[in-house]
Amino acid sequence: MGSYLSKRAVWSGISLFLLVVMVFFMARLTGSPADLYLPIDAPNSMREEFARLHGFDQPVLVQFFTFLRGLVMLDFGESLRQNRPALALVLEAMPTTLLLAFYSIAIALIVAVVTGALAAWRPNSIFDRIATLLSLIGASLPNFWIAIVGVLVFAVGLEWLPTSGTGSVAQWILPVAVLAIRPCGLIVQIARSSMISVLSAAYVKTARAKGAKSRRIIFVHALRNAMLPVITVAGDQAAGIINGAVIVETIFGFPGIGKLMIDSITYRDFAVIQAGVMVTAIAIFMLNVVIDIAYAILDPRIRMN
């Protein structure tokens, strides 16, 4: 496990480095941010002053080495828009997105695993058919459309929930629900098919022969073994939310990492973009490590290797 993790960390380190280099040079290709930050009628002297202050007048390579030196000390530079360290801004936004991902995936997992397991218990029953169809619909609806319809129905129409913000619990309901639907649909499908194959295993038949209750067979004997593919998909979806909650955060005005990135892209806030991509990539890496550890806990055979 240890050597595996370190090997993986090395590879992730290399890809992170390439990622940061790519973002750095791409961001520099768009032209001088001085043009975007200063008024159109700003005199040239003011532009030069601005560029000098932020180091934009230096050759790109010099800027790059300054950037790398900062990177080693976890200094991504200052946000131009807010005059604060970029990393601090990103780290402030991260918990919102992580919480959003955590709640959505937790809810999706609980609902989907129970539904999938029950559907697998009697394949082709009415419950199974309805669950399969609903999961298919849930898995294929576009996020932003669900969000918009949700706002229309629950915020504009019924006025039960607020349209945006993060202050109260009520403001979390819509975003979490929207983000949970797709993972939920996907996990039901996986949980169902995985459960069906596990239920035909010898030890389940043994449990049945010994007279165990069906609820006990499903949730105690079979579920643990059916969880491996479920964990894979859930992890994938969690990574997807950390990386792609942009839309939901934009629609609901959630101050998470996605909203921060979109704003930084609009205002050409280099430092924040770099820090944002880097921190997101690290978060996804950590998530994958957690998934691997979950595998090892669930399946002793993986632990041995």
Binding site: S15, L16, S140, P142, W145, I148, V156, N243, I284
Partner: protein, 310 residues
């Protein structure tokens, strides 16, 4: 079993008519897949004919029909789904946008499929240093936060249709590459491939005549699913304003346009969103069907009872 036809869609069928009938029959047995096929056919037709039929209606601005409500036939059938903020028929615009939407998704899937399959064949069949290098680059692409990267890239290289296709295609290559590689590594150890190798078949022949036809059904199933995924990704990018730009229009861009009017005129965003939902759902249903239809062990579920014992 007389029907080995579907398992090798690339092979020449002896009786094309009969084969078509069998496929149709198998579709009919799964009503969801059948409905999905019809929805997809309508969409494809609209993508081909839409701009030709509705091109003018989608551009004409009728200021009296600004944000016209749906299901009101007083302005003619074109406004059955309502009018947008500039008084253009939403129905006509959905038909017009279907072309760009489908074109982007199709081009993306095609590019990533070709690149992914070729690289996957190389990595799986030849292996070696080149194969290793290909896999490492794939790992790197996969560890990127793809949507964030796409946003950054599109912001830097101005959001044009071709850039959207390139960015999306690059993020989807690993899917095809890894699948192809895994399958190739398994298939090449099978007896018939080894036999062909021993009898001196060229690498070209081995790959295209023996290995690729076995992998094709899996790729086809993935492709159908991925088409839906790419459509959603493009819609997301366009929704955020970093995808397709006006005057080009896709369904995602239409949803984004309508967002500003959400509280007053819900239909502006609702209909194009519904179009996306219907098509992605149909693709998922069809892919489900394809998985069963191309799997010789499961195909009996879709075949007529009386032909089972033939």
């Amino acid at each position: 079993m007389a029907h080995q036809i579907l398992s090798t869609p690339l092979a020449d069928a002896p009786m094309p008519e009969n084969r078509f009938k069998i496929i149709l029959g198998m579709l009919w047995r799964d009503k969801f897949a059948f409905t999905a096929t019809i929805i997809l056919l309508v969409t494809i037709l609209s993508a081909i004919l839409g701009p030709w039929l509705f091109g003018d209606a989608a551009i004409v601005m009728n200021l009296r029909a600004r944000n016209a409500p749906p299901f009101d036939l007083s302005r003619g059938f074109a406004f059955i789904l309502g009018g947008d903020s500039l008084g253009r028929s939403i129905l006509a615009r959905i038909a017009l946008a279907s072309q760009t939407t489908m074109l982007i998704a199709a081009a993306t899937v095609f590019c990533s499929l070709v690149a992914g399959t070729v690289l996957g064949l190389v990595a799986g069949y030849r292996g070696g240093l080149l194969g290793e290098a290909i896999m490492r680059v794939t790992d790197i692409i996969m560890s990127f936060p793809s949507l964030l990267m796409a946003l950054v890239i599109l912001y830097v290289f101005s959001p044009a249709i071709s850039n959207v296709i390139i960015v999306l295609a690059i993020t989807r290559i690993p899917l095809y590459l890894r699948t192809t590689r895994a399958e190739v590594m398994e298939v090449r150890t099978r007896m018939f491939v080894v036999a062909a190798e021993v009898t001196g078949a060229s690498t070209f022949r081995l790959v295209f005549k023996h290995i690729l036809p076995i992998i094709a059904p899996t790729l086809l199933t993935i492709m159908t699913l991925d088409f839906a995924f790419v459509m959603l990704a493009e819609a997301s990018l366009s929704f955020l304003g970093l995808g397709v730009q006006a005057p080009d229009v896709t369904w995602g861009a239409m949803v984004a346009e309508g967002r500003a009017y959400l509280s007053k005129a819900w239909w502006l965003s609702f209909w194009p969103g519904l179009a996306i939902a219907l098509v992605t759902m149909s693709l998922n249903l069809l892919s489900n069907w394809l998985r069963i239809a191309t799997d010789p062990l499961q195909r009996w579920r879709l075949e007529k009872p009386e032909t089972q014992n033939v």
